[in-house]
Every structure is written in C-alpha cells, then in structure tokens.
C-alpha cells in the first residue's frame, strides 16, 4: 500500500476507534436542525421553503466542529514531525488527512441530511438532489477546512478562529449547493449550478492541500 493510502487508512481507523468526533458532529447537526422548527413554529410551507438552506448551513457548522482535530492530534503527539520525514510530500500528507476527514465526517453528515429533511418538511422530489449536492460539495468543506485547521494549529481556542477563517470560503459552495437544489425544482435545467459546484469542489481538492502544507511548514518551525 502506498504511503498516501496507509495514512488515509490509519486516520479512518483512528476515527472509528475514537468515535467521539463523528458522534459530536452528527449530534450537533441533528440538534440544530431539530431546534429550528421549534423556534419558527409549525408553518409547514415556510419550513419546506427554507429546508434546503437550513440543512446546508447546519452541515457547514457541524463540519466546522470536527475540523480542528484534522492536524491537532498529530501535532500534539509529535506524529507530524515524523510524517514530514516521509517520502510523501507534505502537500499529499495534508490531502490524505483532508480525504480521511471527508470520508469519516462529511459523508456521514451528507447522508444524515435527508433524514433531517423530514423534520423540515422538505419536498419529496428534492431529496435525491439534496444528497447529490452535498456529496459533491462536501469535498470543498473538508479540503478548504484543512487550510484553516493548519493555520490555527498552534493557537489556543483555534476552533473559533477556524470558523472566522474558513466560513467565508464556504460561501460559493453554499450558494451553488442551494442553487442546484432550487434549479432542480424549478423549470430551468440543473446543469450549470451543479457543474459550478463540482468545479469549486475539484479546485478545493487541488488548492487546499497546497495551502495547508505551506501553513504546516510555517507551524513546524
């Protein structure tokens, strides 16, 4: 197995053994979405109109919760230094860790979204598109989030700082994620917003690790 896959496999195994990070993110997602109908009242038309946006925003916030751990545990126990002595470039180390975050956190969140859609009276025909936009859009969440995680590695209260750094970069993903869902329900075609969402994700997968590795080099000095 290549060093890249070895690292991804180790991170996934750790995510399963520790369990806490995923449980927190899923629990937070569920709570935020559950609180909303309680706060807004049982206006089913209103809920179904805002459902897609709420599910997307709550997903971004839940993913943020788990981002600080992407590099922090490896930094604290000294693994990061040793990872840097491997033949794998630091860019690919960052990519492997972001990929593991995507698989272990973002995908479960995306799969939980349709279940929570029931609470918000999301229209039936929007479900496939909701899951599709989330699966396609969440790589941007994990790979851009890794940059924030790398930048705040040595700061205390890094979690809050990550939110400030990373959330603005999530705006395009959010806009085109929701645009795809509403375009699917409307008369126009779904193609162009969905393709732009895909492009944002692919660009993040390439550029995120490069920026994260530059930040990691700075933090390791």
């Amino acid at each position: 197995m290549s060093p890249f896959l070895t690292l991804v496999a180790r991170d996934l195994r750790l995510a399963v053994r520790q369990g806490g990070a995923l449980g927190t993110a899923l629990g937070f997602y569920m709570l935020v979405v559950t609180l909303l109908p309680l706060g807004l009242g049982a206006d089913l038309n209103l809920l179904s109109r805002i459902a897609a946006g709420v599910l997307w925003i709550a997903l971004l916030l839940s993913a943020l919760l788990s981002l600080p751990r992407v590099f922090a545990s490896d930094y604290e126990d000294g693994s990061l230094d040793i990872l840097a002595t491997g033949a794998l470039p630091l860019e690919l180390v960052a990519a492997a860790k972001a990929l593991a975050h995507w698989i272990s956190t973002s995908i479960p969140l995306a799969l939980l979204a349709p279940v929570l859609g029931i609470l918000l009276n999301l229209e039936l025909d929007a479900y496939p598109m909701l899951v599709a936009t989330m699966l396609v859009g969440t790589p941007a969440v994990s790979f851009l989030g890794a940059v924030g995680a790398a930048l705040t590695l040595r700061s205390h209260r890094g979690g809050l700082l990550i939110a400030l750094l990373v959330l603005p970069f999530y705006v395009p993903t959010l806009i085109f994620g929701i645009a795809s869902i509403s375009a699917f329900q409307g008369p126009g075609g779904v193609t162009s917003p969905f393709l732009i969402l895909t492009a944002i994700s692919l660009a993040s997968v390439v550029l995120g690790p490069i920026a994260a590795a530059a930040a990691l080099r700075l933090q390791m000095q």
Partner: protein, 199 residues
Amino acid sequence: MVDGLSFRLASGEALLLTGPNGSGKTTLLRALAGFLAPASGAIRLADAPPERERAELAHFVGHLDGLKSHLTVAENLRFWAAYLDEDGDGADGEGLEAALDRFDLAPLADIPAGYLSAGQKRRLALARLGVAARPIWLLDEPTVSLDAASVALLVKAIAEHVAGGGLAAIATHVPMALERAREIRLGVVLGAAAPEPAR
C-alpha cells in the same frame, strides 16, 4: 540560538550533542532534519541522491513519541513501517517482529499504546528506527525515561547502525559508551550569567 557552529561528520561516526538546557541541541537537530532553515550558513550532505531531501534520509526521534494511544503497539509500528519505508519490506511480519524484539517490546505487541508506561512508549518510538533503513539517525534525548537495560539496548542499536556506515546525531545528558563518537558541547544559555571579560 546556535551561532558559529561548524562540523563535519563522516560515515560511520556518531555525534553526541551535549550542553545545558536551552543551549540549542533540539534546534540544531531540527535544523539537521530540515524542519528549520538555518538563518545563515548551510547544512550539506555529501554523496546523497540529489532527488531526495535530507529529511527523507533521516529518522527523527524527538521529545514526543509520535504514538496513537488508540492503536496497539504493533499497529503503531506497522503504520510507521508502511509509511516510512517506500519499498515496503519493513511492514511484513518478520521485519516488524525484529524491530519489536530489538527494544524488547514483543510481549506488549497487542496492547494499545495508551496503556504503556513512559519508558515503554519511548522504546516503541525508538523501535521505529528499525522498521525502515535510513542512513541518518537524529535522536533528541532518546534516553529520557528509559531504564538502564533499555539504555543499553539503545546504545547497542546505535553502535550497530554506526558500524554499518550510518550517521547518528544524538542530543543527550547521559554519557553513552559509543566507539567512534565525537562530542560537541553547545554553549552557554542565553540570559545566563556569562563571565564578563575583565576590562
């Protein structure tokens, strides 16, 4: 941190870095590993394959052990073997057992690393030296929390590595009985009372 230092280490030599706390031993080792760029001067490796960076030819064992407490001893070591050794022959059963045996860890192989004592964790971090063949060993106070028997195992491992033509740079406060070892004593701590020259 460290100023005016110049040395040359030949293949098959060990370098002992000594000096008081804060004298720059760790800084020097991190610079040798390539984590820090020297503010001036250069670190050169003669006869190294040009396409590989210095860090990729070195084992770095720092103050932190680089272990995951949720993985067992064998899983921790197997991961580093697969990650550090591109050829992949360190990750097989025999290489792994030999590396565990070298630091007397075989009985602990299936215990999660989180249950180990500080000395056992250190031995596991040092066992990493055996899973991938690399010519340079950079060890930062490797004897911390080791008992006398483990220190002897470590000295034996370093001696074998050096005898096989490797390089080793070791920051230490404990005298090590190594043949062909040179010692560099790093200077005075910043801020400590340095003797004032008489005017």
